[in-house]
Amino acid sequence: MQVPEIVDDALDPADKAWAAVPSEKVPLVPVPIEEQPNEYIRTAWRTRPYGQTGEVDVAAVQRGERLLVRLEWDDSDEPNTEFLDGAGVFFPDAGDSGAPLTIGSHSAPVRLWAWRDRTPMQEALPAARELVASGPGAFRPAGLDAGDGENEGARPDAVSALSGGRWAVVIAGDLAPAAAAGRMGVVVWDGSNDERAGIGAVSPNWVPLTVK
């Protein structure tokens, strides 16, 4: 996927700049049940369908030191009062050759920019967070190991819009690690189906990123 440069910010998914950026349909599959992190989750979801978001339109641009990724997908389900929709993009460390299916592993964690829709009570929470993912749902806030909480400077941002049964979300974060990775995984959580953590739809293959 080519990542063209833009001049003006395009964090809003309705920004006209996106009309000129080619998008790519990325197929998604359920995160494998056998890879879920514990017996409880495997038992609870083994016979329950999840990860049914079949594909997502993906486009990406770079603006200065930021990478902006636009995701768009169908979601016409009635909202769930307990769990909200979400999506994320993630990047392996350079040199890692694992598949994106498990959203990282203990030996090869990935950097996940995770967006979640928010309730009115959650307006003070960040729209997106950077997490270190070492498996389905095994997420840790980035920067936590340094003992200083989340790395404010690296915090991704996101703007979302739900219209006509389709979500459009732009997630933005630091370009450098994404460019170094050269590829990206995508994950979508359908809140109306109680999807969260490792229960979701993920891209089975890396999406190559060509950054200038």
């Binding site: 879920q36 992190p37 514990n38 017996e39 409880y40 989750i41 038992t43 609870a44 009062t81 307990e82 203990h106 979640r116 309730t119 009570m121 959650q122 003070a124 929470l125 997490l131 389905p136 749902g137 095994a138 997420f139 840790r140 806030p141 936590l144 909480g149 969260r196 953590a197 490792g198």
Partner: protein
């Protein structure tokens, strides 16, 4: 050191015993906890400590039908209780009554926000009970996190946020690690974990661990006016908890069949005698059906009740009973094991409080 299913080794286990024969349902424990821990936004519906009337539907409503726990060592899937099932966070029309000039025409009443509020609550069916006059019966059941030896909440947590603290076995959560996935709420069979929507984290009783660290008993225990709440280390052979649970076997876990090995125990209630139709005393038939008590505390409840009745009979005949003397609690501080420090004597400067409030997990969360 013992190893639990969730992978935590603990050096000792803090535990509690509630003597249900003395609980009068005053909710002082509930209020003590609420005032201390759950007063922020997102915590309106949270009552880490509750006292329910039994028989009853409890809180969250019909929690005993919500699944969770373990059977034959394997996790049982469960329902995540909703804010409505907890009863929501009640709000009242204070402004209208006190400041709106309608103090003589409008009564104070809860505001129904359409989310279940005013249709259930933490003590909704209080004093309802069961049975028919003159043999109606009920008793009170204080409930909090059981700080289980095999905490299925921790086993179900994908991030390792929920964990069993090595030094005392308290089940805590590292809120920096919690991502709000709420599998813990599904997995907990006692349904004593709440979701803080404002912060997107799960929350539950923390056994007042900052108080324990300074030798102070948990607020619910220290504030209890009925002298019925024991706190201490389960393995302390000289402590009342070890004696009541392991030696005399009169204190039992709630729903032992849930498979998580709770560390909160209850001395089951001996109700007053039943009355016959002519109002004479029926000495033979228990007022509270034994099968009901067995459904709560397991089959050992019968021997526990028999032991208690035997002790009562001996004392009534002029004898003595170490068990009853222990449960009477002549000395208030005897309730608190090693946690007898008066919190009023402690340095409560803000920095110290901030440090003591951390529940950060210090050992690796993997596994």
């Amino acid at each position: 050191m013992s190893q639990d299913i969730a992978g935590a080794a603990v050096a000792g286990q803090v535990a509690m015993v509630f003597d249900l024969n003395k609980c009068m349902g005053c909710q002082t424990c509930s209020i003590a906890c609420k005032v201390l821990w759950t007063r922020e936004e997102g915590e309106e519906h949270q009552w880490w400590m509750t006292v329910n009337t039994q028989p009853g539907q409890g809180t969250p409503k019909d929690w005993e039908d919500m699944g969770g726990g373990r059977k034959d060592g394997s996790p049982v899937t469960g329902h995540q209780p909703t804010r409505a099932e907890f009863g929501g966070g009640w709000e009242f029309n204070y402004d209208e009554v006190f400041y709106g000039g309608k103090g003589r025409s409008v009564h104070l009443k809860p505001t129904d926000k359409g989310d279940g509020t005013t249709r259930w609550g933490m003590n909704w069916d209080e004093d309802q009970g069961a049975g028919e006059y003159p043999n109606a019966y009920y008793f009170y059941l204080p409930r909090l996190c059981n700080h289980c030896t095999h905490p299925v909440c921790a086993s179900a947590c994908p991030t390792g946020a929920m964990y069993k603290r090595p030094q005392d076995g308290a089940v805590l959560r590292d809120e920096d690690l919690c991502q709000g996935s709420r599998f813990c709420m599904e997995a907990c069979p006692y349904k004593k974990i709440y979701f803080n929507e404002a912060r997107n984290v799960a929350q539950h009783c923390i056994m007042c661990f900052p108080r324990l660290e300074e030798g102070v008993a948990p607020a619910c225990a220290r504030q209890c006016p009925g002298r019925l709440t024991f706190v201490g280390m389960l393995s302390d052979p000289e402590g009342p908890i070890h004696k009541l649970v392991n030696e005399w076997e009169v204190a039992l876990p709630l729903h032992p069949e849930y498979g998580t090995t709770p560390n909160v125990f209850y001395v089951p209630p001996l109700a007053p005698y039943r009355l016959n139709e002519d109002m004479s005393i029926d000495y033979e038939t228990p007022r509270i059906p034994p099968e009901y008590l067995e459904s709560l505390f397991g089959p050992k409840v019968h021997s526990a009740l028999a032991t208690m009745q035997g002790e009562l009979d001996r004392v009534r005949a002029g004898g003595t009973s170490e068990i009853l003397d222990t449960l009477i609690v002549y000395n208030w501080l005897d309730l608190f094991g090693p946690f007898t420090t008066d919190p009023g004597t402690l340095d409560r400067t803000p920095d110290k409080v901030a440090v003591s409030l951390t529940a950060k997990r210090t050992e690796p969360a993997g596994g």
